[in-house]
Structure formats: C-alpha cells, structure tokens
Amino acid sequence: MTKIIDLPDTHYVLPGNRACAGCGIGIGLRQITAALEGQMVMAVPASCLTVFGGMYPVSSVKVPWVNVAFPSTAAAASGLAAGLRAIGKADAMTVLAMAGDGGTGDIGIQALSGAAERNDDFIYLCYDNEAYMNTGTQRSGLTPSGARTTTTWSGKRENPKDLPAIMEAHNIPYVGSTSAVFPEDVYDKVAKARAIHGLRYIHMNTPCPSGWSFDPKDTVKLGKMAVDAGVVVLYEVVDGEFRLTGRSKALVKVGLRATVAEYVATQGRFKGMTAETTAAVQDWVDTRWARYVARDAS
C-alpha cells in the first residue's frame, strides 16, 4: 500500500476550479489522474464534475475530457474504448468514465449494466456525494436514509442501493469501494485497476459540504468518520476475491470507532432524524459491517 507521503506530486489537476469550497472531488481526482499518469481520456456526464472542469474556453484539468449526456456515461466510455481500438490507439490511454451517484445508480445504470455485461475495457468511477448535488441536493437512489434533501423534506425513508454489490453481480474483474478523503486508497485502487483489462468499477464516497451541510474545513474529518462508523467501507473485489483495505481493514481488529448517531450529528442534512431511524440505520450498518468482516476473513 502506498503511503500518503509517497503519493506522486502531480500536475494534472490545476490549482483553480469551479467546485464549491471543501468539495471532495478535487482530492479524489488528483489521485485518480496521478494513478493513470495522465495517460487517459475521461467521459464526464452532466454533474458536479462538469462544473469542476470549468467553462469553455478554459479547463481546470490537464487530461483529455469528453463531455457526454447524463444517461450515457458508460456507453460513452464503451465508444471511446471501441474507437481507440479501431484506430489502433487503445494502448495509448486508459478510458475513465466518471459520474456521480445519480448519474451512475439512477439514470446511468442501464448503460453501465450493459457495458459491464460486455466487460468493455474501461474504468468506471462513481463519485458518490449521496444526492443530486449539482442541481441543488435532490435525493438519488444512493441518498442515505434519514437525509433531508429538497425532494425529501422530512428525511429520506429508504436505505441507499448498494451499487458496488450490483456491479460485483456482473462478474467484472475489479470492484473497488473507496473514499476521496483517503488519497492513498484512491491511488492504489485506480493504479491496480489500470493494470487490469475489462470493466473496472470503483465507488468513491465524496463528502459534500454544501449538500450535507457541514463546515467546508471538515471534509476530510467527516469522510474519515463515515469509514470509522462503517457507513462507508473500503474494500476491493479482484476476480471475485474480497478484501478490506486501508482504514476499514484496520477497524476489523478494533471494531467500528463511531456510531451512526455520532456521525449523523455532524451534518445538517440529518437534523430532525428520529431515534428510530437512527437505530434502523445503525442496524443496517452493523449487518453490512459483519458481512464485510466475514467475507474478508474467508
């Protein structure tokens, strides 16, 4: 595992961008582009990442970037891969599709499932900020239970869908679950995925100060707390072999270091969440965590 101090000093993401203060995308994207050494082409749908990239004629990222329609990200990546193969440039760059949770798990899931079934040759990275943040915080299929959004005013009632598990069920060669606030975990997973062919899926939890309602200085702190609480779990599945990674692996010995109640208390979006909902989410987290630990051990 790469130590944080050994991460490359990269220059693919420029110092200025149009993201909100404290946005987790930039932390993740620095490591993603570094792990691919800039030898890449991105497919980016309408999302916070579009805003991050800047408006014509300036750009905040020094890698080829193709903007694509909202539901089309995975198919767009399939087309980039097929096109590069057809013109003999498939080895020149890695195709990286990068979309948000709504763009991946809701409107984009059909194209993604098709590409995964075909095992098309690209990395799909979902940066999960847990709602439609670019349009102003509407609930997505990945918004956690209890979270207030502008379409769930009294808190969402359902748990988020488990996208990495859905992708694992497609029997693709690599599935990773990471968090933008663990740069070395992001770097290692993208670097590992880069060396594999076929469809590689990486799910990256990405704290969002504006949508989650917390102080922008706390992005890393909250992202780490999500892992300590077991709400977010760092793991990878390589050719069907499951293992916990990084902080989540370390938690196996010591147990989860935060409760759901402590985690939700840090964010305005969970204001008014009832004790019953909190307890239900805690049960959901505990069940999932036990399953991950058991899979890691076997």
Partner: protein, 402 residues
C-alpha cells in the same frame, strides 16, 4: 474494376454501403424494420470480412452514444434505427449534431407508437428534422447504397451528421437489383477520415464543456465563441450542404455513372402546371400517377425531395414558381398543423413571384396502403378545387375510413 449486380433488400444495400465505406465502429440495437442491417454487419464483422468494432449495446440511446464518442476519437462510425428507437436516442441525435460529428445513420422509416405499428411512414425522422442533421430520403435500394456512401463524404466534409432515410418494408425488405461498385471505386471516392477533434494526453482538450451565451476569453485573452456563435456556425454548415450534396452526387456520377439529382429530382416537370411532391419511395409512385394524369390530358409532373434538411428552398422556388398548383404528399404530420414538407413548401413559396397554390395531402400513416389510384384521385380532387377558385384548404387524408 468489377461491378456486380445483386438482387437485395434495402437493408442489405445499407449494410453493403457501410462495409464499402470501411466503417470502423458499428453500434446498433435491434428494431423492426431496421434489424437486418445490423444482423448483416454483425455477420461480416464476425467472419472477419469487415474489420470493425461491433458494440452490441443495450439500447438505441447507447448505440448513438457509442457512435458519438468513437467518432470523437476519430473513427468512422455507423448505426441504423427506426421509429421508437430513433425517438429513444433523440437526446443523442441532438448531441451528435451539436458536437459536429460526421456520423452516418440509416433510418428505415416506421410509424411512431402508440399504438404499436411496425409499418412504414416517415413520422420518425421528420420528428427530428430540427436537430441539426442532414436528412436525405431515398427512392429505391440502389439509391440507399449510393446515398449511404455519399453521406460519409458529405458528413466528413462539413462535420455534420447525416441520416439516410428509406421507407421501412417498402424498401428495407423489398428485393430489387442493386449494382455494387468495386471497393477501389469507393476507396477513391471516399478516402480515410481526417478527424477534427483531438483526443490525445499530450495535447489535452476539454471537448463539449459548459459554454456560456456570450463569447468568453481563454487563458491567452483570445475571445472564443459563445453558444449562439457555435449554433450559427452549425446552421451555416448545414446550409453549406446545399452545395456539397449536389457536388458529391456529381462526383459519384463520374465514378459510377449514377446520379440522384442532388437536392431534388423530377419527372415530367418541364411543362407541368400541376406538380406532385413527396420524399422517398412515394415519389416513384407519383411518377406513375403523373403519367396516368398526362394520359387524361392534364399537365402533371413530379418533384421529389431528396434533401429535406437542409431544405432546398432556392431549388424549389426555381422549380415551383409559375406553376398553377403544387400538391404535397406527406407520410407524416405535425399534429394540429399539417404535413411537414407541405408546411415547409408553403413557407418557402410565400410572397414569391409566381407562387403557386399549395395543397397538402396526408397518406400512408402506419403502413396504410397508398395506391396509384389514391394518388390520381387526390390529384384530381386538388385540381378540381383549384379550378373552383380554392387557394387554401385542409390536408386531404388519403384512403381514410372514419
């Protein structure tokens, strides 16, 4: 160079053209009546006869998406669809045009649901006429083959995508002799694509980002186009096709001996007082109707629309001014208004010297039979109305039984 003549259906003519054009990426999803185009291409790719990537996508939306991004990296791409498939990819129809990608898509024209109907009319492609593509309509299977090859030349010269439209079943599944040009002939006519877009890590570009309404300066202080300038340039490129389509057709004629009239075609038009107008195979039926009407002593001719977008306004003004009556047959409808070609011709002729009376007729929706007798009767009704002094009237619905 060897030319072979084979009896084939329209869909096979389209597939043969794509193969002769040496397409590099094909992505398509099955829908009646387009399906056999991609079945044929898939077989050629699998056998190695056509060295191309064939992406078996999970929907039409993804089919055009794959074409969009494969075209962005520089590949020559092909897809085909019909009706609801075209409607499902509509978002990407706009994207392909706005991104200025030289995609060629065949449309086996079919009626739109609901209710379900797999038979022919032209409502599908007419419904996306405003999306910024070039639209060419074919009369027969030879024209499908020739036009699909021509479409790549037109698209790659202008960086505008082209729809090659032909009537579902009437052409897509009807066998007729088709002359297949030699590969060397097509190669000389259609050289390898030189892409405009650049996807290269050594020269990173952000392609298609958010673009503001107004021009904006780049990092070097140079003013770059806003959205509206980009749209104006796109419009100009589509209009430029008014010159490019006939020029490419003329060059094809030199190479193969076959020309298709460029923007429009005509039959018995010179001295015609009454002109019957249609796009696609319906135009061929109109030629038979016109000949029968001539036998009755009526000076009737036919004007066929080959290029519907760009709309050949100047050509039509030249050919229709001074006529007594123009009767436009549409296999599509703008509900609450009239047939799309009829409306466009009325607007084109409005206020012009010698503007004829223009009547519309709606026919063949959902595969409703259109016989030469129906067309002759419609023409006689229109001529009688005109003789009675009528200068405007609602569309005449042919073979309708309410």
């Amino acid at each position: 160079m060897s030319v072979t003549t084979t009896v084939m259906a329209g869909n096979e003519a389209a597939a043969t053209a794509a193969k002769l054009a040496r397409v590099q990426v094909i992505a398509a999803y099955p829908i009646t009546p387009q399906t056999s185009v991609v079945e044929q291409l898939s077989a050629w790719v699998e056998s190695g006869e056509l060295p191309a990537e064939f992406v078996t996508v999970e929907s039409e939306h993804s089919a055009l998406t794959v074409c969009i991004t494969a075209s962005t990296v520089g590949a020559r791409v092909f897809t085909a669809t019909s009706a609801n498939g075209l409607a499902y990819m509509t978002e990407q129809v706009w994207w392909a045009a706005g991104a200025r990608l030289p995609i060629v898509m065949c449309i086996a024209n079919r009626a739109m649901a609901a209710p379900w109907n797999v038979l022919n009319d032209q409502q599908d492609s007419m419904s996306v006429r405003d999306a910024g593509w070039i639209q060419l309509y074919c009369r027969d299977n030879q024209e499908i083959l020739d036009t699909t090859i021509q479409a790549y030349r037109i698209a790659e010269q202008l960086n505008v995508p082209v729809m090659v439209c032909y009537d579902g079943f009437l052409l897509s599944h009807t066998m007729m002799p088709v002359e297949i040009p030699a590969a060397e002939t097509v190669d000389a006519f259609l050289p390898a694509r030189v892409p405009l877009t650049i996807v290269d890590p050594a020269d990173p570009r952000n392609i298609g980002p958010v673009t503001l309404a107004d021009p904006r300066v780049d990092a070097q202080g140079v003013s770059c186009h806003g959205y509206m300038e980009i749209r104006a340039l796109h419009h100009q490129a589509v209009l430029d096709a008014l010159k490019v389509i006939p020029a490419v057709d003329a060059e094809w004629s030199e190479a193969t001996g076959r020309a298709w009239g460029g923007l429009t075609w005509e039959h018995l038009l010179d001295d015609a007082e009454v002109v019957l107008v249609a796009a696609g195979s319906l135009g061929v039926q109109l030629t038979v109707a016109a000949e029968q009407l001539r036998e009755r002593g009526l000076n009737v001719g036919v004007l066929g629309i080959r290029a519907y977008r760009p709309f050949p306004a100047d050509a039509l003004r030249g050919k229709l001014a001074g006529r007594r009556l123009v009767l436009v047959f549409d296999k599509a409808l703008s509900y609450g208004n009239e047939g799309p070609i009829c409306g466009d011709i009325k607007a084109t002729m409005s206020g012009r010297p010698g503007a004829p009376t223009v009547f519309g007729a709606v026919c063949g929706l959902g595969g409703r039979d259109v016989s030469v007798e129906h067309l002759v009767d419609a023409a006689l009704r229109a001529i009688a109305d005109r003789e009675d002094g009528v200068t405007d009237r609602p569309a005449d619905w042919l073979n309708l039984h309410l």
